[in-house]
């Protein structure tokens, strides 16, 4: 076991895959210069790193074409919000070509996205902790508040496009393992990172080992309530669970989805069967996103286990504001998870 950051583990797994398989083509990455935020590999792989200009739409389309003729492109659009510039290629081509061809063509691409709300209160605390150690360019640090267009959590939108896999790692081991599995998969896969998680440290194996797509992970076991989270809301839920245990005697189970599509419904139902109460924590918006989708699964498959309505800790249905007080008001924080769990447990205590 080694210890490294999520960014370093993800890049290490990418390099491991490129060295093992000549079909793996990096598009929009960096070769020969250290970095955590960008997809970065060693100088010896420079000839398999393609400059994609500032043409997200064209580059994603080119990755699709390269994949259709046997390559396994891994493409990054740097800030994940730029994927929206390539939306028609993701929604209309990558997801549809394998299906509409009747399975004659596969599109094994991986698109790496650096996403999420940054600069909220929890994010600023992280920045303060990392300030002493963070080095390098502006892009290698936690970001401050970035305003409405850059603070995107696209996984909910992507989930409504059948034919895409969506992985959302939160630990270095999961990031490395899911990168390996995404590259090996025949399906077009969105590799969605939250920017603040890139700096998270943790143990990883040597060499990196795959983590299966479609398998959730219980990051903390508990009996009273299930917190279903993904991405940045996983560490926030874990911190909330620690506080709930210490300050309120509450035993919260925290499930990290790790993969949104396909969703590990069995893991969710099994946990709810044990706890009888659910809070869904999602930095995306309340309506039509991941939280709503997870809640619909609970309502359909775990209704008889529920002793309280599903609780939501999400961003409200407004664009993400810039000013810090506004941002802290709408961004789902650790404090909001604590409050959400206590509210749900109060309902559970009253019975239904």
């Amino acid at each position: 076991m080694r210890t490294m950051t999520l960014g370093a583990a993800r890049n290490g797994a990418l390099e491991q895959a490129m060295l093992a398989d000549e079909r793996v083509l990096l598009m929009g990455g960096i070769a020969g210069r250290p970095g955590l935020t960008a997809l970065t590999v060693g100088e010896r792989l420079a000839d398999r790193n393609i400059d994609i200009s500032i043409s997200e739409l064209g580059a994603v389309g080119a990755a699709i074409g390269a994949a259709a003729v046997g390559m396994r492109p891994v493409l990054t659009v740097h800030q994940g919000t730029f994927l929206l510039q390539a939306w028609p290629q993701v929604v209309q081509e990558a997801s549809k070509l394998p299906f509409a061809s009747g399975g004659a063509v596969t599109v094994p691409i991986v698109i790496h996205l650096d996403t999420g709300i940054t600069g909220d209160r929890d994010s600023r605390a992280l920045s303060a902790r990392l300030a002493a150690s963070a080095e390098g360019s502006l892009f290698e640090r936690p970001w401050p508040t970035r305003g409405a267009q850059h603070s995107i959590s696209p996984e909910g939108m992507l989930w409504n496009v059948p034919g895409l896999q969506i992985v959302v790692p939160t630990t270095p081991a999961d990031a490395a393992g899911l990168m390996l599995s995404a590259i090996a998969s025949e399906e077009p896969t969105l590799f969605v990172e939250h920017h603040d998680l890139i700096f998270a440290e943790g143990p990883v194996s040597d060499p990196f080992e795959p983590v299966p797509i479609g398998v959730a992970d219980v990051k903390r076991a508990g009996d009273d309530v299930t917190v279903i989270a993904h991405s940045i809301m996983v560490p926030r839920a874990l911190e909330a669970a620690a506080r709930l245990a210490a300050e309120h005697g509450v035993s919260a189970e925290v499930i990290d989805l790790r993969t949104i599509a396909p969703l590990d419904t069995d893991a969710l139902v099994a946990s709810v069967a044990k706890t009888g109460a659910v809070v869904v924590a999602d930095q995306g918006h309340r309506s039509g996103g991941v939280a709503a989708g997870v809640a619909s699964v609970i309502a359909e498959l775990a209704f008889d286990h529920l002793r309280a309505p599903v609780g939501f800790v999400c961003a409200p249905d407004v664009p993400i504001p810039f000013s810090k007080p506004l941002l802290d008001h709408v961004s789902p924080l650790t404090d909001d998870v604590v409050a959400g769990v206590l509210a749900t447990l109060e309902r559970k205590g009253r019975g239904r």
Binding site: I50, S53, G61, I64, A68, A100, S101, G103
Partner: protein, 335 residues
């Protein structure tokens, strides 16, 4: 001009053009039974066949909306294509795609899209793969002039020029833009379609699409040069807008192609449209071959009879073929 091909290939070219014509006429006649959308390529058969003859077996291509011609030209079986148009399990894409999504990697057709310009970047990517792997494969990207206003085409041109990959963009200009020039949509500020790729510093040619021999010569030059490392090409093929080509309802003014008229075996009558008499690229090629002694009217009629049998068999096959098992939709087409 007569395409610069050996006698056997020249006859094969004519036969494939006639096959596509009869196939498309059959689609117009029976397509309503399929209750699905399609677009025919009547009048553009020669460009598809010329490109297919200029391509090598390992070359990649997309197809355009008028894709039946491009698929048949590269060897997709008429019965499999007709069955796909009918949504049948025996279709080239098992009924999952329909006419607008025909893809057949076995024939080098690796991407198609019903979104205008949707696959232009993908063909750049296929060419990129060819270059990275040190192959000699060329990728051919098909679209019409109504697509050159799409951003995807501009990004594809940009990346093709940046990467210097072996891709040939073939724009079949049937003057959709010209016809809509006075309307709020569909217009392009460029004077000519070919002026747009010229700005990306790539090799550009415009060619008269009614002269199949010239189309073949230019496409062969472009594909050979791209294969040799000459970088991307853009070929604008100026074609005719065949009046029966609109979607639903598709009509054939003047009726089906009459090879007796084309071969001069019967006089021009009042039912014959000017297109049939004077502008149809198939008619122009056939008459040129006969005039130059490269083919006879009898041979043309015999080829046509052969082809009609093949198309009739394809229609019968598509009608009788079973639909896919509904559950295959949930399995998402995985084999």
């Amino acid at each position: 001009m007569i395409p610069d091909l050996p006698a056997a290939e020249l006859e094969r070219m004519l036969r494939t053009i006639v096959l596509i014509r009869r196939f498309e006429e059959a689609v117009v006649a029976v397509g309503h039974e399929a209750e699905g959308w399609y677009h025919t390529a009547i009048g553009q058969e020669g460009t598809a066949v010329a490109a297919a003859l200029a391509m090598a077996p390992g070359d990649y291509s997309s197809t355009s909306h008028r894709n039946h011609a491009q698929a048949l030209a590269r060897g997709v079986a008429p019965r499999a294509l007709m069955a796909e148009i009918f949504g049948k399990a025996a279709g080239v894409n098992r009924g999952f795609g329909g006419s607008m999504h025909v893809v057949s990697p076995a024939h080098g057709i690796v991407a198609n899209s019903a979104m205008l310009g949707g696959t232009a970047p993908a063909m750049v990517g296929a060419a990129l793969a060819s270059k990275v792997r040190g192959e000699r494969a060329v990728a051919v990207s098909w679209f019409g002039d109504g697509t050159v206003t799409e951003g995807a085409v501009h990004e594809a041109l940009c990346l093709a020029a940046l990467w210097q990959v072996p891709v040939v963009f073939v724009c079949e200009n049937d003057r959709v833009l010209e016809m809509t020039r006075d309307q709020a949509t569909g217009t392009v500020p460029a004077r000519e379609v070919q002026d747009i790729p010229a700005g990306f510093n790539m090799k550009v040619r415009a060619v008269d699409g009614t002269d199949i021999g010239v189309v073949h010569r230019v496409l062969r030059t472009a594909i050979d040069d791209a294969r040799a490392g000459g970088g991307p090409w853009f070929v604008e093929v100026r074609t005719q807008a065949w009046p029966g080509r609109s979607t639903d309802p598709v009509e054939l003014p003047g009726g089906r192609t009459d090879f007796e008229l084309i071969c001069g075996l019967r006089p021009v009558g009042p039912q014959d449209t000017a297109w049939h008499v004077a502008r149809d690229p198939l008619a122009l090629l056939t008459r040129e071959l006969i005039a130059e002694g490269r083919c006879t009217p009898e041979r043309v009629l015999a080829l046509d009879a052969e082809v009609r049998d093949e198309v009739d068999a394809a229609v019968a096959f598509a009608r009788e073929a079973p639909y896919p098992d509904p559950q295959t939709a949930i399995d998402r087409g995985r084999r």
